[in-house]
């Protein structure tokens, strides 16, 4: 079925658009295969609102006399109302939006059609590859190598074609280890610390099962990671009890007797549905203005969102503590190793590694630790906070990461080269984008769909000098030190820039940001 067949009414005149804190506007509404376009022509000046249909999380229709009202709730948390004269038109528009906003086929999505004149599809896609990262990171050369064991994605479908592993472990051992890990996600290198060579590894859970199976190659692989040093830490992102229970379903944990030099620490992290429901509750709490302070605080508490932020940051802190202060290598995993694992390993890098705090460094980190590492973006971000659809595999792990990074930035306002604007842009793009970066669930899927050949890369476009400037932190002063965030509840705050983004509250903050820029610019001119 052609996309255009979903469109029964393409154009409606005299539509009234209502947005929070703006006067109502009258204009023309158009539905195209991928967009909703509202344009208001007043005198000479015209004003347009263009919304990606994929950005629409939920719609509600209501009939008022002969006309209808559609409430559009976007994944970036914006809520709009359209008053459409004519019931039939209203229903047509609504059904088009419903059909076109939930396309499942990747190649039908907008990034495959987005062809701006200033970008070209030629040239390399993305910022870096595993091989390039390895080449640039001299401290890896001695003990680590790039393995192509997964070049056809048969060893681990969610891993990239190349991964970094201990030099002394050959590909056969990797294949064995992969069979012993859920989804084939055997331990691979995530980060090597610049000051002491200690590493952060990540994987999925070992498949020890009820029979306490062992895998010699997996044990050797981990042994090779610590290479003679006395001790490594395994940070298991489940409670001890959960890890025990996982054995009943074929999963498990690294037992002390088999992994003698590894010490396991359990930290409980919520996952999947629970986190998605937190987001839904939080957004619901933020959009209800009528209630009292008590109700607000109890809803905020009840959403548990900040508790997830708290756990993520404190576990990342724990990892950093092991690596930087105690000088030990760390393996991080939960169950699948595609969500909390990535969250913790990438946060730890922000805290540890000054290189990941620049704009380029941060985007490279996301590319390496989320996109190449196989975070299933398509499944996790299918819906955001408003959808009434039954939850499948949605989970705002990536949004949680952005929130945590924001918390770090609040506590170290000078340490990150990028600003809140970059985080907000990413929060928007991950749910609906003109670019192909967040499409699909793994590199394998992206290859199959031809994402690299047929879409533009978001990160590349963000790094264009004229665009990058808007994401810069005017107060940036690089520091080589680890930036340890405080994880006391008093130190963590609601990310107002994100969750109260469409309220007037955000406008005054915008003014403050501009003032900061003007102070800094004035200074730079004088200097």
């Amino acid at each position: 079925m052609e996309l255009s067949e979903h469109i029964k009414t393409a154009n409606v005149e005299d539509v009234t658009l209502r947005r929070p804190f703006h006067p109502a506007l009258r204009g023309t509404l158009c539905v195209t295969s991928h967009h909703l376009l509202f344009s208001n022509r007043k005198d000479e000046a015209s004003w347009q609102l263009l919304i990606l249909l994929k950005n629409i999380d939920a719609i509600e229709k209501r009939a008022v006399g002969s006309s209808g009202t559609i409430t559009i709730k976007c994944k970036d948390l914006l809520v709009l109302q359209l008053e459409i004269p004519g019931m039939e038109e209203c229903l047509n528009i609504a059904s088009s939006i419903e059909a076109l906003s939930s396309l499942e086929s990747v190649t039908e999505m907008y990034p495959f059609f987005y062809r701006p004149s200033h970008l070209t599809l030629l040239g390399p896609w993305g910022l870096s590859t595993t091989e390039q990262y390895y080449k640039q990171t001299e401290r890896l050369w001695d003990r680590w190598r790039v393995s192509k064991v997964n070049s056809d994605y048969s060893v681990c479908p969610s891993y990239p074609s190349a991964v970094i592993v201990p030099r002394e472990v050959d590909d056969d051992k990797l294949i064995r280890s992969a069979r012993f890990r859920q989804g084939g996600r055997f331990p691979v290198l995530s980060y090597c610390h610049h000051s002491n060579g200690m590493v952060i590894m990540r994987s999925s859970q070992p498949l020890t099962g009820a029979n306490k199976k062992r895998c010699k190659e997996d044990e050797l692989l981990l042994q090779a990671v610590i290479d003679g040093s006395e001790l490594g830490y395994i940070i298991d992102l489940r409670s001890a009890q959960q890890a025990q229970q996982a054995r009943m379903t074929g999963g498990g944990f690294e037992s002390k007797s088999c992994y003698r030099h590894w010490k396991r620490i359990h930290r409980h992290h919520e996952r999947g549905k629970v986190v998605q429901e937190s987001l839904i509750k939080l957004v619901e709490a933020c959009s209800d203005l009528s209630h009292s302070v008590d109700r607000w605080l109890s809803k905020l508490e009840n959403s548990k969102w900040l508790s997830h932020v708290h756990s993520a940051l404190s576990t990342a802190g724990l990892v950093v503590e092991c690596v930087e202060r105690d000088g030990h290598s760390v393996l991080v995993h939960g169950s699948e190793g595609t969500d909390n694992t990535l969250l913790v390993s990438s946060l730890a890098q922000i805290i540890l590694d000054p290189a990941s705090r620049t704009v380029t460094g941060f985007l490279c980190l996301l590319e390496r630790e989320w996109i190449q590492a196989g975070h299933p973006f398509q499944q996790r971000c299918a819906h955001s906070a408003y959808s009434h659809a039954r939850l499948k595999q949605e989970c705002p792990s990536f949004l949680l990461l952005l929130d945590c990074v924001w918390q770090v930035w609040r506590q170290f306002p000078l340490a990150l080269e990028f600003s809140e604007a970059l985080l907000l842009r990413l929060a928007q793009e991950v749910y609906a984008s003109n670019y192909g970066t967040f499409l699909c669930n793994s590199e394998q899927e992206r290859c199959a769909a031809g994402v690299k050949e047929n879409t533009h890369c978001l990160f590349q476009s963000m790094l264009k000098p004229d665009i990058e400037e808007q994401y810069l932190n005017p107060l940036y002063e690089p520091t080589d030190l680890a930036i340890w965030p405080s994880v006391h509840p008093q130190s963590l705050q609601l990310w107002t820039g994100m969750f109260l983004r469409w309220t007037e509250y955000a406008q005054n903050m915008e003014e403050a940001r501009e003032e900061v820029w003007s102070i800094v610019k004035e200074h730079r001119e004088r200097v």
Binding site: K212, L297, H310, S314, D326, P413, N508, A512, I519, H523
Partner: protein
Amino acid sequence: MSCTEVWWSEMEHIKMPKVENVRLVDRSSSRRTQVGTLYLTATHTIFVGKGSEDRSELWVLHSLVCNVLKHKASQSGYPLLIHCKNFQVIQFIIPQESDCHNVYISLSRLSRPEKYEELYCFSFNPNVDKAERGHSWDFLDLKAEYSRMGLPDKLWHVTAINREYRVCDTYPADLFVPKSVTLPVIIGSSKFRSRGRFPTLSYYCKENHATICRSSQPLSGFSARCLEDEQMLQAIMKSNPGSRFMYVVDTRPKLNAMANRAAGKGYENEDNYCNIKFQFIGIENIHVMRNSQQKLIEVSTLRSPSMGEFLTGLENSDWLRHIKSIMEAAVFISKAVAEEGVSVLVHCSDGWDRTAQVCSVASVLLDPYYRTLKGLMVLIEKDWISFGHKFSHRCGHLDGEAKEVSPVIDQFLECVWQLMKQFPCYFEYNEKFLISIHDHVYSCHYGNFICNSQKERKDLCIKEKTHSIWPHLWENKLDFTNPLFKPDQSQNQGLLRPRTAPYCFKYWRRLYNRFDRELHPRQSELDCLMTVKEETQQLEEELALYEQKLAVLDKERAKALYMQKGVLESKQTLWSLPLDTSLANTPQDYIGGFIGGAPNVFTLQQGERENAELCLFGDKPKSSDADNSDQESGVADFSSHSSGEESLPSEDSVKDPDSDETGPNRE
């Protein structure tokens, strides 16, 4: 009694002037302690650390001590816990029980002075002469403030009726009333109001002649009337020629006001007063507020609470709900004045607590002047000090009725802080200024906040015997300036329209966890911006200097010199900036001069990094290598910051069935 006599009598309370080998415990990590000597003086408790490299001192004013508690003896000695009014909590461990008891007895007495003369402000003697002291009291001039508002004018004038404090002993001597009211009307009205606090002007909006007036509740009981009081309100209404009615705002909950009627007090009956619109606001009384803050303090001092515990505690304290209700009252009044052009009479019961809060917050919303440093001082001087907010009672300066203590002024400062959070560019002062004022309200270091009324202060010769805080704050105004302040815009801005949605009210970490350094951002945006701004100015001055030189010197040669120097100069400043800003990792060095530095100043400089790190994630000092070698305890250490449910997150808590057997099932 002279000051020296008082001093000697205070010395008598000191049973133990010096205790050796006392340990000062860092609350964020109980194992990080400092050993040193504790001294008790007539005015301060002083702890001097013994460490060779870190001879830090801690000074605590007796008047800032809220309470002293002895805790159960531990292995290392006898703990003594001191809670301060500025929310600092200090824990000493004293080796000998008798010493601990003596210090406890002495401090308990010293922190509860019985007479005004015992307060620190009477012995505080900076090196200034009499004339200068007098001058310090002239720094703020309320007459000038009223004339800034445009008073007196043809409708309002100062009445001399209270010059001797005979009509109302809690009001100031000079009061503005409508010209049209006669003395008998004022006296009649004052007799019909609690404590004689008749309606009088607090704020005047010269653009539209609307006013905020304040009073206490009327003694209306169930049916009493007072013609003079009705005339008074009528006159206030008529002094605003553009309006046809006025609001009377009772800031109490309706139920409380009704209960007061049984005691012969109450509120205005709309039927008896012409053209008033009566409104209840529902701000709770001082007792509710005291309990609420107590709960808030308990939450803020919880040791490593989970997110849920903290938020639930914050909610249960109701503190932010009270802040919101004060803010909403102020928003209502400021809109009535600025947008409707209608005058408002505000009262509560006595008209010195909620009334002061609401009038002053409304003034901050209405008038950009009060958002400047000097303006806020003037506002506090006018609405709080001169109008008889009972500082001595509310702050517990003297030993007395605990039920009179209430954080009324704290709430005012917090409302201003909440506004600053919403409008980051509209306030000339920053958060440090508010915290400094808070400190001095409680410290009794200066005479401004002593006593309960102007009359009491006059009787006590406060101006002759103590110093004024305002010039002192003014001298340090660089520290208190908000770099984001945009004066021109703020002037044009006029009325601030804050949001009062619940999520706009935040927990004031900088006040309540002020001394818990590890809780605050490691780097300060404000400090960095201030540095940048100062540097810009310096550069500008240098530039001007060079331009002058240019004019004098030979043009060509001068230009060459200038270019050279300019390059050099700019290089220096470029490099100096990062240094400064990385030092900005040190949070808050804005503790008022009289409270010494806290024991371990946080910096993320190389040298002290270890210290800094360990408080963030660990609970135990790991600065020495000996600790690091002990891996088991290292793991226990991590558990200290787990979210709480699992007491033992290490694998030892998992009964690992594998541990004793070699698994046969190798893959």
